[in-house]
Subunit: 305 residues, 2 copies
């Protein structure tokens, strides 16, 4: 039985950055999140790929995570994007939603009873459908979102917040959702809507964690070369939830406390830095627990005074 | 005798932010830096004000710092600016340089022998003239700069770097000076040009310290209300140098080491947060050592894991 269920998209990404280009590389929110989480915990993945999806890639994925929740139908989602010199934000050149449009996530029986769930970026109405299927009486649910859903389905995004324990979003999304330029205000506003923990990701500037225990702040991992930031945010959420699910397995109780989330956030930042260092999930998949621990220790030095 | 000499501008600022407006309020790089430094050390100020400068304001300034190095001549520098909703960057509406154009800083005899010098934002050629006047055989010199000088006098800015121990600049300036979007690369490039310590200020995202001892990173102080960021950067540099000059007085030796600069940087971030909380230097001047220590302790909590 998996320790953590990750629900989200699988797609084929064509990405150009100042360092090169990759065509039709495996991507999607569930892919990055599940691969990152699999460093720490047994992961069950809930998603959809098309009948056009490469069979070898799918079996490779099945060797990393439990893919029983991955449906095969229609044509795979495609995303084409470009990063400029500053690497700040992807410019989407083309999106073909394909099979993701009518997809409704369905949790296999043995996934529904797992207490840890990550709802990676996906239509908030579909995230709500997943929440309905969770059967574990005690649970810890995290969700990510994206500017598109905030702009077009804000009510559903807010509804998701009522049911989750942890919200992860980036700084632009936080400002947009709470209509304020001030991230501290935005974080507190998010907390008041339901989640115990709210994390605002700030890319190269690190991340902020809000909870009733007060604020935690971490800088970005000092990378000299960011090759392709695609999936770094999803890897971050996945690694964090994988870390927490693993802590839970080890301690055999569900009280996820704030100091634990702080440690998870630092670990997740280390994992996300590997994703950003290579194209697609190329370096993420290679990073070992020892590599991650080394970067965790760099974070220790980074903030000591 | 002062512990620290601050050289820079004094001006009259007219600033509009979403929270209100102040007209002809005392400003300028030397004003903010000297006032911040005066929390920790005895400060000598080197600058110029016009004959039109308010006499009461000048005597108030003289009650805070040694103004023997403040020349009175011509008409005072004026700056008019506006901050938009995001508070990110000031939009300069008007600058009247007035007496600052032909001003050449002159250090009084008892200032020249002081080992600690802060060259607050000023024409780099004038900063070089100050460096020539420093007579203390051992010294610790810090300098700030600004986008205008990088664009127009880059060679002089680089020349200043060869003579200083500590460079303070903001993230936009760092990217501009070293033609890279990557702050880690920019910091290392700055180090290679002379200074032992390089600090990149990132506003709400905190600051980075580069040295041969490795990287230090601190988040921004979690302010819910930024009223007017004017002078926050100058206060930061002033507080840091005031803190270091004070440490030197207490320990009676000039070896400014990296752990000391880390502590100074955190202290300086706390001081700068007070500046940003009010218009002009209104809250900065009121902040006590205890207020600053409280925020220092918040930083301790903020980064603990």
């Amino acid at each position: 039985m998996p320790d953590l269920i990750v629900t989200g998209s699988v797609g084929l990404d064509t990405v150009t950055t100042p360092f090169g280009k990759r065509a039709e590389q495996i991507g999607g929110s569930a892919t990055y999140a599940a691969l990152a989480a699999s460093k720490f915990a047994r992961v069950g993945m809930v998603s959809i790929v098309g009948v056009d999806f490469n069979a070898d890639t799918l079996s490779w994925l099945a060797s990393q995570v439990d893919t029983e929740g991955v449906e095969i139908s229609g044509k795979t989602l495609r995303w084409t994007a470009k990063y400029e010199y500053t690497m700040e934000e992807a410019e989407t050149l083309d999106t073909k939603l394909n099979n993701i449009v009518d997809y409704v996530p369905e949790l296999p029986e043995h996934f529904a009873s797992v207490p840890f769930h990550l709802l990676a970026n996906l239509d908030p109405d579909k995230q709500l459908k997943v929440i309905e299927q969770i059967k574990s009486p005690q649970h810890f649910i995290a969700a990510d979102t994206m500017n598109f859903w905030i702009a077009n389905k804000k009510d559903s995004v807010i509804k998701v917040l009522k049911h989750i324990n942890l919200l992860v979003l980036n700084e632009g999304e936080a400002r947009q959702l709470f209509a304020t330029p001030n991230l501290i205000k935005a974080g507190h506003a998010a907390l008041s809507l339901g989640p115990e923990f709210v994390i605002i990701k700030k890319g190269e500037h690190g991340a902020l964690l809000f909870s009733n225990r007060g604020l935690f702040s971490i800088g970005g991992y000092p990378l000299e070369t960011v090759t392709d930031p695609t999936g770094a945010g999803d890897s971050f959420a996945g690694a964090l939830m994988g870390f927490l699910a693993n802590q839970y397995q080890e301690a055999a109780n569900l009280s996820i406390n704030e100091p634990m989330v702080r440690k998870g956030l630092v670990t997740a930042s280390a994992v996300a830095s590997f994703t950003a260092e290579g194209f697609g999930p190329e370096i993420l998949t290679k990073a070992t627990i020892n590599d991650i621990k080394e970067r965790y220790d760099v974070f220790k030095q980074l903030h000591q005074f």
